[in-house]
């Protein structure tokens, strides 16, 4: 088992498993967010549940944060090893001749997503922690919808979110199907996994972008 921890294949499996975990989380996040467009009351009640359920707050949330940290720390470790493995760089390297741009630039799409996460945590998570644990404000199951819509009032924030979703799409386009290959899963279902990856990596980020733009264009009038 000690060999497993040190091996290149194990590191890729860690990348794959944490990535797939984050894909599941994205799906759940999107399902809740889209209700803010369809039915604000549902959005409020689901958000309140997520914000105050002890299982979500004290078990699932730490697991999610650990998943994010493991994914990007391992991503950096692999990138550093991979750069070292080349040694001296080529004078001419035609990467576009044999591999798509998205697969060759996962570190850059990942870095943009990481930068976005910092902004996203500042926007929502830090605010939420301050509300509950610093200000110790009372529970208010009706506050989430207008807090969310207000966040998208500034144009700059909406644009940053949409740009991050474009990079998220590119990251998923390669990463989702690739994680199955890393875990040794390449068989007759692989073409279906690849097709599903393409649909998922367009639909989910496009949906997130739609939500951000929708709230920007439909502000709450006081």
């Amino acid at each position: 088992m000690s060999g497993l921890i040190k091996s290149s294949i194990a590191r890729k499996v860690v990348m794959a498993l944490s990535g797939l975990f984050l894909v599941v989380f994205l799906t759940q996040h999107f399902t809740i967010n889209i209700t803010s467009v369809i039915d604000p009351e549902t959005f409020n009640s689901w958000s309140h549940f997520m914000g105050y359920n002890p299982l979500v707050q004290f078990v699932l949330q730490p697991i999610l944060i650990a998943g994010v940290i493991i994914h990007f720390v391992m991503g950096f470790v692999l990138e550093i090893q991979n750069k070292k493995a080349r040694g001296i760089n080529y004078v001419k390297f035609k990467g576009s001749a044999n591999a798509p741009w998205v697969s060759r630039n996962m570190i850059y799409s990942g870095l943009v997503i990481l930068a976005f996460l910092v902004l996203h945590f500042y926007d929502f998570w830090v605010h939420e922690m301050a509300y509950k644990y610093i200000e110790v404000s009372p529970e208010d199951p009706t506050r989430y919808y207008h807090e969310t819509v207000e966040k998208f009032e500034p144009f700059w924030r909406t644009i940053l979110y949409v740009l991050a979703f474009v990079l998220l799409s590119l990251h998923l386009w390669h990463g989702f199907a690739s994680s199955f290959q890393s875990m040794g899963w390449n068989n007759k279902y692989t073409p279906a996994v690849k097709t599903f990856t393409k649909i998922f990596s367009v639909v989910i980020p496009l949906g997130f972008a739609f939500i951000a733009l929708y709230h920007h264009l439909n502000p709450i009038t006081h």
Binding site: S7, S8, I9, N82, N89, N98, Q181, S182, G184
Partner: protein
């Protein structure tokens, strides 16, 4: 045709190298890439200059000795061919061709365009074999019935000539395609199953020790492989490795 060549020249493993420009006239489309380099070398020798050193042997595309990164791609712009089978008709009069050695920390340059690929030999030695009694009681391999699909897949994996184009093409200098082909050619056959657990563990350990990079599934190796070794071999090796390690 007239070509402008930019070739990596390096005196020895410890000296720094650099790109040197050469102009070569009279190149015919029917010449192989290595014949073009032969002509350049004849010119250099006649001028009293040091010829460009490069690896070659069978010149039939089957031995895996020739290498070269040509205009940013291992074995050049053609597909499913080695450098010795790449013909100059793939280039045009007046083209500039950048010729470099395969680059990887695990493939150190020996001289000019020649790299040391003994790291592949060490991976092979770590487990790329089956132990067979050859003292006179050897069992005929054909005595064991093997499903044709498995036999074909094992044969496809076994066509890997170990040239190193997969490593050269990979942005991470990963040797996963090579190692997985060598693991697969045995893993698919009953004779190879006996030592399967140790084989995959030992070969992957050696691959990591040599300093190759990690596979990020870009698929560049599969595209550039002169023998068309498939990425499914990498998935098979990952499966074999995970199951072997969890068992062991």
């Amino acid at each position: 045709m007239k070509l402008y060549l930019k070739i990596w020249r390096q005196k020895d493993a410890s000296s720094p190298g650099k790109i040197v420009d050469y102009t070569l006239d009279g190149v015919e489309g029917d010449m192989s890439f290595l014949e073009m380099l032969d002509i350049l070398n004849e010119e250099l020798v006649s001028k009293g200059e040091e010829p460009v050193e490069f690896d070659h042997d069978c010149r039939e595309g089957i031995c895996g000795t020739c290498s070269l990164q040509i205009n940013g791609e291992p074995h050049g712009p053609d597909r499913l061919v080695t450098t010795c089978q790449l013909h100059m008709r793939k280039f045009k009069d007046g083209d500039t061709i950048v010729i470099e050695p395969f680059r990887a920390k695990a493939f150190p340059v020996i001289k000019d365009l020649i790299v040391d690929r003994s790291s592949f030999e060490r991976i092979q030695q770590a487990g790329g074999f089956i132990s067979v009694n050859t003292s006179g009681n050897t069992v005929d391999a054909n005595a064991i019935p093997i499903n044709k699909h498995d036999a074909d897949e094992a044969m496809d994996a076994a066509t890997c000539i170990g040239c190193g184009a997969c490593v050269a093409a990979c942005k991470n200098a990963s040797a996963m395609l090579f190692t997985s082909a060598k693991v697969s050619q045995f893993a698919l056959l009953p004779q190879g199953r006996i030592e399967a657990v140790e084989r995959v563990q030992n070969m992957v350990r050696q691959m990591d020790l040599e300093g190759f990079g990690n596979c990020t599934n870009t698929g560049a190796c599969e595209v550039e492989c002169p023998k068309g070794i498939s990425l499914t071999n990498i998935a098979r090796m990952n499966r074999e490795y995970l199951s072997a390690t969890l068992k062991g």
